[in-house]
Amino acid sequence: MEKQHLDRILKIRLPITIGVILVAVALTFLISKSERDGVGYQPEQPIKYSHLLHAGQLKIDCKYCHTGVEKARHAGVPSASICMNCHSVARRDRPEIIKLVKYYTDGTPIPWKRVYKLGDFAYFNHSSHVVKGINCVHCHGDVANAEVISQKMSFRMSQCLSCHRDAHNRLPELGDKIKNGPVNCSNCHR
């Protein structure tokens, strides 16, 4: 009788238990994957700046504000002075602009919340990608149609390599102008 009992545990209950555990782990892993990668992260910013309005409706070029994007590693979040190029006259009465002007006149930097962050061990360079004609949209999503900015893509190494190894299919609009990117470790890690 005891043997039978043990048999039942081994034959039925154990596989079920293990199965349940595995499924739970796998499901949690898959469901939380994007969350863990930061996809969809959408923090509240100190000023409710709208890319939809500026980049989408007013059609201001990305490079007008993100001045470093063609020159340097960092695209750069614009300094308050760049905002003030227009807002020293435009929409001075709006509450968000009043906040902006206050930051500017007080001389305190605007504490923008960081949305995109690569691991410290990876050295990404905006300029080498942008001058090749790769559109910002490929990594940052359709920013021009986003009211609040959020992370659209996971920044895992596999994501980088998917283009570096298969540029033609991933960036068909560039045609022959684009070659596969380098895949040496030291191109990004140093």
Partner: protein, 1035 residues
Amino acid sequence: MNNIDDMNTLKSEDHIHPHVHEHEDHNSSMLEFPERVTEEFNTDKMSPLSRRKFFALVGASSAFALASCNNYRDKGEIVTYNNKPEFSTMGEALYYASSLNDGSGILIKTREGRPIKIDGNPEHPVNLGKIPQTGHATILDLYDPERLKYPLRKKDSALILDKDELVKIDWVKADKEITDLLIKASAEGKEIAIITHTVFSPTQKKLFSDFQAKFPTVKFYTYELHSDNNRAIAWKECFGEVELPSVKWDKAKIILALESDFLGNEGNTTEQIRMFASKRDVEKPDDFNRLYCAEAAMSLTGMNADYRIRISPGKQFEFLLCLTNEIVSKGKLSVDGSVTSLISGHNLAAFVKENDLNKKYVDYLVKDIIQNKGKSLVHAGEKLPVNVHIATNMLNSILGSADLFDLSSRNVSYSAYSTSQELEALVSNMKNGKVAVLINFDSNPVYHFADDYGFSKALEKVGTVISFTMNQNESSNGNNYILPINHDLESWGDFNLRTGLFNLQQPVIAPLYSTRQKEAILLNWISAKPDTFTEDIYHKYLMDRWEKEIYTQANPAVEFRKFWYSCLHDGFINLSSKAVSGFPQFKLPAVTMSQKASGWTVMLNRNYTVDDGRYSSNGWLQELPHPVTKAAWDNYASISPKAAKELGVVNNDVIEIKIDNRSVKLPVMLQPGMAENVVAIELGYGRTIAGEVGTGVGHNANILLSKKSGISEWIFESAILTKTGDTFKVFSTQEHHAVDEEFVKDLHFKRDIIKEGTVEGYKKNPKFMKEHEKELQSVNAERLYPGLKWAMAIDMNKCISCTSCVISCNIENNVPVVGKDQVAVGREMHWIRLDRYYSGTPEDPIVSTQPMLCQHCDSAPCENVCPVVATTHSDEGLNQMVYNRCVGTRYCNNNCPYKVRRFNFFNFRDHFANGVYLQDSLKLLHNPEVTVRSRGVMEKCTFCIQRISEARQEATKDGKPLKGSDVQTACQVACPASAISFGDMNDKESNITKLREHNLGYHSLEELNIKPNVTYIAKLRNKHEEEDSANGLHS
């Protein structure tokens, strides 16, 4: 409520136990333990909370705490500029031309407004892009966490018992109090003494005279622990001119260096190395210069000599007279009557025999000098006495070496050194209370002055002592005021080291702390309103002087502002100086003959890294291995192996060195090539107040200095050496052993680590190295590199092992300082090292050196043993290291035949000197393009991958393909001899390809067939014949 209920029930449950416990208690206390010991375990007195309940509560509360951490996705903030400066782009470096306080023209790399690297200014006519190791490393001093951050004042003794305690004081208050004191001192006619190092700045000189005009009792004293003063005195006596001409080393065919380390630490070494190395070009073997060294201590110059003659410094004068006599008689030269009477009777052959000099070498020397008359340069070392310099001038003028001196470009100095009489007068004035105020103007006289002046004791009688200094030092100790000053990179200034060449110094960062530049402090005290200091006070003063003096001299076609900005941009202005024709007439002054002395001769030498002790708190320099002995973090007494045997001492035994009544105890270092009965000690160590890093490093040998000089200020005879029986370990970064030990003798040649030849051999058979080449078989399929392939070549004819590359690499690649205890166990982190090998005999060693760095082998043995694939090969031939993958097995290190991999046994920034280099200010220094490695990670030379990436980025932006010549590594940029080449070996036109295929090119340990990408160009020694294969040379 629930909780309380729970607790109650718990309590009642637990009531069962007390009885048991009590029972046990009783028994145990009776049997084993005294009663009170077990009292603690009385459960009645213990918390009613059970173990289980406790964990439940801890678990629940931490779960709540974790649940409240809802911002786990938070990535921090991006803090932007409020008003971005137009010229700066995040992530892009900006370069500024400026000057260091020693007058080197520099180019400073800044990132986001903070300086991160100093290199030479490539356009500067003297530096040509190169600066000595101290110049590179001084950037660490800027961020030194122990810098003084605000002015300090001694507490009022009336109020506080501890008199030496310092309090923070306002600048305005300090200015007020000190100017009152200065006015009072001038009114009472009491002296205000200002002690300073050499002044190279014309504007500072003007400031000094303005200061003197305002306070007439001011006296300036200038001193230097090591100086060129004897040479200058001799030059003046012989030629009647004050300023020394610069030497055209690149025009000399034969150089005789007498105890002169012109390649190591004397004079403008970078310029001298460059000029010397320019005559060591393997493409022009007929044009090779030949270097003879006659010296006692093994110096860097001696290591590079083609012939080295061992001679005691006391014999140099006699040697020169004998040599002159021999040359005059053999070369049939006509000389002045006064010269004839001086040299007659000095017989070289007898001198050589008496002093056991190498006769063959001396004969070669005489022959060479006569043959190359007019192209032979004799150069005496700065520490030799005046009479040797006079004899040098005599021989040079007899040989007609006028072409080797540039009279239109002279060494300028704006202050004469104070004589020992002047310093004695100062001390006696101090003792008599005639000195009211004494200012240490960025100087450290308490540490530097010879003890027998009695300076530090006399200091107690001085009313007010003020120090202008960056860090606390021996002289600032116990001062009334300590005023913190700016670093070179935070200051304005100008320097004039050569005739007509004016450097400008501009700040590249605002003062990090509440400091002022030292000139501005003085200027403020003599200004109309000392209580309203403005930051640009000295800037305006400098501009004003330039407008009046330099602008009018230069007389350009533009207005002053444009002229000023163009000078600032270039970092210097070279005013054309008149070509001087005709060498001044040599007149033999009266010379004192050298005395014959007995006993040991002590030589107090300049050291290669920390200078006169001013860089003691610089960890990078302290850890830089000595170019000859490879010892770090210490000084020692170098004696010859034979003398050591006679004394009965071995390495690390402590000896006492006694000159008259002055004595010092030092560990012994057995140095092959040392003259017998000579002991060489380097000064600049043993600082007692030099912060966490520098305090107590090495031994203070300044004690041996005296106001009464021996042979010279730095050489003393009749010293007594005694064995003490103690030991003190000095650690070297290279294993050392006796030169003639059979097992390791000439190992570097036998194992083909180094290959060498002679110029004669090369001229006869240029392919002599390729003749013994073997066909090497490989089991691996050859890997192809279709695109770029990076490679380096190091020309060993040019490399003189000066170690500038090491420091430059350290700064570029964020290499940490590990400290003496870690160097002791071989854990130094340098990515490039200078190996030094001896062959020959302990008396006449032949020194071979080799810079060793990661060879980026095509079939790298490190790569296939890494269990986590953290080190791999790129398709551009680089051996890559991925820190993030590395788990620290150290297999790669064990499998590397060159031993160039470095392991982070600790987070060394934290581990070293109470974590002094982990402090916030040091974070500003790090190169943001290179990972700061932490504990447990392997690292090694990357061929400056960050510079390759930067060049690639620039090429991509410009839409051009990346070329090998676009990249310069940090070591390459720093090398004063330009011995290092770097580039793309697939580019057939490039210099690197030519060098790789050069007849003299070889790989270290070639027979391993791991296909290194670093090629060495074999050193050719400029020997007379090919007899030298006997000395272990492969020719």
